[in-house]
C-alpha cells in the first residue's frame, strides 16, 4: 500500500497541463530596458503623445526606486535588462473578423479550452484574449455595444475612447505607486478596457484570458474597468503560460473605479506556470490591483483563486472613499512544491458607514510557503466603519509553511474591526474516514480542500466555479500529510 509521503511526492511531480508552446511568427522588441524601448512600444502601438509622456514619467519614477525588502520570502535576482518588453504575433494584415485570426492561435486557445468562435464559447461570457503583449480577439463586442458597454483591448480604448482612458488612467494606481507598477506604466503593452455606462448592468460575464508564450519576455498588461453610476459588471481573468526553465516576470496593473452605486465584481483564476518540483522556472506574478469605491453606496469585490506562479505577490485592494461603500476580498491561494505566495489585501476605510469583508483561505503543500498579509485602515472620517476578516490556513504535509500578518490601523473610535484566524491540517483521520467510505485518497483530499475553500469558490461566477474546483483538485492531486 502507498503511504502518505509517496502520495505527496506524486502530486509534487504532477505535470502542469498547459505547458506547451505555440510556434508562431512573432514581432519582438530588442532585449533591454531604456527610453528607446518605451518609445519603440509606444510607436508600435501608434500611441498619442500624452500617453508616451505618461510612460516616460513612469520610467523616471521606476529608475529612482528599489526593490522592496519587507516580503516574507527571498527576493529572486531579477535582471530587467535581459528581458524583451514587447512580443506580438505578426499580423499579416488588418483583421476584420475572427475568421482571419491565425489558425495556429485559434488552435492554441482551443487547446486551453478557450474557444474564440462565438457560437462555441460559454454562453453568456464575452472574452478578450491577450497573447503575450497584445489582445488578439474580443468576442460579443457588437452585442455589448448596443448597451453602450465598451469592452475592448487597452490599445483600442486609447485609440477610440482617449477621453475615458485619460480621465481614469493612473488615478487608482499612480505611475509611481511601487516599482512594479512604475515598470508597468513605462512598458505596459496591452490589456483589457471596460466601461459600463450609467444604470447599465452588463448582461454577461466579461472575461480576459492571458497567455504568455514567447521566451525571455515579460508580460505587462494593464486593465482598467469603470462602472459608472448604478452600473454593474462581473469580470473574470484567467491565465496560463508554457513551461520554461527561466523565470518569467508578469507585472500587471489593474485599476477599478466604481462611481455612485456602481458595482464591480472582479474574479481571477490564476494558473501561470508554477515551475518544476525543484523550483526551476515559473512565473513571478508581481501584480498591483486596486479599486476605488469613489461614489456613495458603491461596491468592489475581489475574488481570487491562485494556484499557479513560482511566486505570487499581490494585494488586491479597495479604497472605500464614498460613504456607505463596500469592499470585499475573497481569496484561495494554493502553493505546493517550492511555490511561494505572499498575498492578501488592503482596505482603506475613508468614507462613513463603509463596510469590508475579507475571507482568505491559504492551502500549503510540499515545501511551499503561503503568507497572508493584510491591512485594514480606518481613517478619521470613517464613522461606523466595519470590517470582518477571517483568515484560515490549511497545511498538507509537514514541510510547508503558513504565515499570517494582519495589520489594523484605526483612527476612528466608532469603527469595528474583527479578525479571526485559524490554522488546520488535513488529518489522517479525515482521510481514513473518507477512504473507509470507498473514496480514494486523492479524491478525499480534493473533497476536503474544496469544502475548505467553498466560501470563496461560491463567490465565483457559476461557469468558473466548476473550473476552479477542478483546478484545485488537479493542483493538489493526491496530497496527504
Amino acid at each position: 500500500m502507498r503511504n502518505s509521503n509517496e502520495i505527496i511526492d506524486d502530486i509534487a511531480n504532477k505535470e502542469y497541463e498547459f505547458g506547451f508552446t505555440t510556434d508562431i511568427e512573432m514581432d519582438i522588441a530588442p532585449v533591454g530596458l531604456n527610453e528607446d524601448t518605451i518609445r519603440f512600444i509606444s510607436a508600435k502601438k501608434q500611441e498619442p503623445e500624452w500617453l508616451l509622456e505618461w510612460r516616460l514619467k513612469g520610467f523616471a519614477a521606476f529608475k529612482k526606486m528599489k526593490f522592496p525588502n519587507w516580503q516574507h520570502f527571498q527576493m529572486p535576482e531579477l535582471d530587467l535588462q535581459k528581458l524583451s518588453y514587447y512580443a506580438a504575433p505578426k499580423e499579416k494584415k488588418k483583421l476584420n473578423s475572427l475568421d482571419e485570426v491565425d489558425p495556429e492561435l485559434l488552435a492554441t486557445f482551443d487547446k486551453l479550452g478557450i474557444s474564440l468562435k462565438e457560437q462555441k464559447v460559454l454562453a453568456g461570457v464575452a472574452v478578450d484574449v491577450v497573447f503575450d503583449s497584445v489582445s488578439v480577439a474580443t468576442t460579443y463586442r457588437a452585442k455589448l455595444e448596443e448597451l453602450g458597454i465598451i469592452f475592448c483591448s487597452f490599445g483600442e480604448a486609447v485609440k477610440h475612447h482617449p477621453e475615458l482612458v485619460k480621465k481614469y488612467l493612473g488615478t487608482v494606481v499612480p505611475h509611481s505607486d511601487n516599482i512594479f507598477a512604475a515598470l508597468n506604466a513605462a512598458v505596459f503593452s496591452d490589456g483589457s478596457f471596460v466601461y459600463i455606462p450609467k444604470g447599465v448592468r452588463s448582461p454577461m460575464e466579461l472575461s480576459t484570458y492571458f497567455r504568455i508564450n514567447a521566451e525571455n519576455t515579460g508580460q505587462f498588461e494593464r486593465t482598467l474597468i469603470i462602472a459608472d453610476e448604478s452600473a454593474y459588471v462581473s469580470y473574470l481573468e484567467g491565465c496560463t503560460a508554457p513551461k520554461r526553465d527561466e523565470n518569467q516576470l508578469h507585472a500587471a496593473v489593474v485599476e477599478l473605479v466604481a462611481l455612485d452605486h456602481g458595482e464591480i465584481k472582479y474574479s481571477t483564476v490564476q494558473n501561470w506556470y508554477p515551475g518544476d518540483k525543484d523550483g526551476n522556472g515559473g512565473i513571478f506574478n508581481f501584480v498591483t490591483k486596486r479599486g476605488i469605491c469613489k461614489g456613495n453606496g458603491s461596491k468592489i469585490s475581489w475574488t481570487q483563486v491562485e494556484t499557479g506562479s513560482a511566486i505570487t505577490w499581490k494585494y488586491p485592494s479597495v479604497i472605500l472613499q464614498g460613504d456607505n461603500s463596500e469592499g470585499e476580498f475573497y481569496s484561495v491561494a494554493v502553493t505546493r512544491n517550492k511555490q511561494i505566495a505572499d498575498t492578501g489585501t488592503k482596505i482603506y476605510h475613508l468614507g462613513k458607514n463603509t463596510r469590508s469583508r475579507i475571507i482568505s483561505k491559504g492551502i500549503s503543500a510540499g515545501h511551499s510557503d503561503n503568507t497572508y498579509r493584510g491591512l485594514v485602515q480606518v481613517g478619521p472620517r470613517a464613522a461606523n466603519a466595519r470590517n470582518y476578516t477571517q483568515c484560515d490556513s490549511l497545511l498538507i504535509g509537514d514541510r510547508c509553511g503558513a504565515h499570517t500578518f494582519p495589520y489594523i490601523e484605526s483612527r476612528n473610535s466608532t469603527a469595528t474591526v474583527e479578525h479571526e484566524a485559524t490554522t488546520s491540517k488535513i488529518g489522517e483521520d479525515q482521510i481514513f474516514y473518507l477512504n473507509q467510505r470507498g473514496i480514494e485518497t486523492e479524491k478525499a483530499v480534493a473533497l476536503i480542500v474544496n469544502g475548505y475553500a467553498k466560501e470563496v469558490l461560491n463567490q465565483l461566477p457559476m461557469e468558473f466555479a466548476v473550473e476552479a474546483q477542478k483546478l484545485l483538485s488537479i493542483t493538489l492531486e493526491g496530497s496527504v500529510g
Binding site: G427, L447, I448
Partner: protein
C-alpha cells in the same frame, strides 16, 4: 463471508492482537465484548485498514479475497463498512455530496454507471425515513456541529445508504442516551437481512437488549477468550469481566 485466522497485529511496536480466530457468515449478528484495552476497536481498525496498524501474522479472507492485500478504499468497495466510534467532521463538504461521491466510487469499482440524480434523491429519502435520520442534517456539512448522538445516527444513515455486506459498529452505543440508543438500534435492526452480516463492538450489554446477537465473543488481551450466545452477554453484565480474566490466567498457568 469473513474468516479471520490467527490474526496478530501491532501498533508502534506494541502487540495488540495476539491470535484472533473468527468466522462470520451471512445474516449473522456477532457481538464483540470485552474490558477496556482488550483490542476491540483495534480489531475494527485492522479490518478496515487503518494505516498505523501492522499485521504481523495470520490472514483475513473476505468473500474469497485476501482482505489484508486491499487498500482501505477497496475494502470499503468490497463491502466492509465501519461505523466509527468517533466520526470526523469535514467542514464545507455536505453530507449528501459526500455520500454521493462515496456511492459512485463504490459503483464505479463494480463497473456500474454513476447514480442518476433523481434516483439518488429517492434513495436518500427512503433510507433517511428507514433509519429515522433528521432530514435537515443531510444538507449540512459532514458531521460539523452535530451532537454526539447525531453523529452516530449519521453513521447508521450512511450504513443504510452504502448497503455493505459486512457492517462493523465500533462502540456505536457509547455516549448515547437511552432514546438515541433505541433509535440507532432500531435502524440497525431494520437493516438486518439474510445476506448481510454485522459485527457489533460494545462495552456494555445494554445495546444487546435492542440488537439481539447470534454470537457473543469476549475479547481479552488481544484474543477471543470465550464465545457464547446472547446469554453470555447477560452473564457478563451480572458478573463483570474479572472471572473471565481469572479463567484465562488459570489456563495459562496450567
Amino acid at each position: 463471508m469473513l474468516t479471520i485466522k490467527n490474526l496478530h497485529a501491532e501498533v508502534d511496536g506494541k502487540k495488540i492482537l495476539k491470535g484472533i480466530n473468527l468466522e462470520i457468515k451471512r445474516g449473522e449478528m456477532h457481538a464483540i465484548m470485552g474490558p477496556n484495552g482488550s483490542g476491540k476497536s483495534s480489531l475494527s481498525s485492522v479490518l478496515a485498514g487503518r494505516e498505523n496498524y501492522t499485521v504481523t501474522e495470520g490472514e483475513v479472507i473476505f468473500e474469497g479475497k485476501n482482505l489484508l492485500d486491499l487498500s482501505p478504499e477497496n475494502r470499503a468497495r468490497e463491502g466492509i463498512f465501519l461505523a466509527f466510534q468517533y466520526p470526523v467532521e469535514i467542514p464545507g463538504v455536505s453530507n449528501l455530496n459526500f455520500l454521493k461521491t462515496a456511492l459512485n466510487e463504490i459503483r464505479t469499482y463494480h463497473g456500474l454507471a454513476p447514480i442518476e440524480a433523481k434516483e439518488f434523491l429517492k434513495l436518500t429519502k427512503e433510507k433517511q425515513q428507514l433509519v429515522d435520520f433528521n432530514a435537515n442534517l443531510m444538507n449540512r456539512s459532514l458531521n460539523e456541529g452535530f451532537s454526539g448522538g447525531e453523529k452516530k445516527r449519521n453513521e447508521v444513515f450512511q450504513l443504510a445508504m452504502l448497503d455493505p455486506k459486512l457492517a462493523i459498529l465500533d462502540e456505536t452505543d457509547s455516549g448515547l442516551d437511552i432514546d438515541a440508543l433505541r433509535i440507532v438500534a432500531a435502524g440497525v435492526n431494520k437493516l438486518r437481512s439474510v445476506d448481510k452480516a454485522f459485527m457489533v463492538i460494545t462495552h456494555y450489554q445494554r445495546l444487546l437488549d435492542y440488537i439481539v446477537p447470534d454470537f457473543v465473543h469476549v475479547l481479552y488481551d488481544g484474543r477471543i477468550v470465550k464465545t457464547g450466545n446472547k446469554e453470555l452477554a447477560l452473564e457478563l453484565e451480572e458478573k463483570g469481566y474479572d472471572w473471565l480474566k481469572e479463567e484465562v490466567h488459570q489456563k495459562e498457568s496450567v
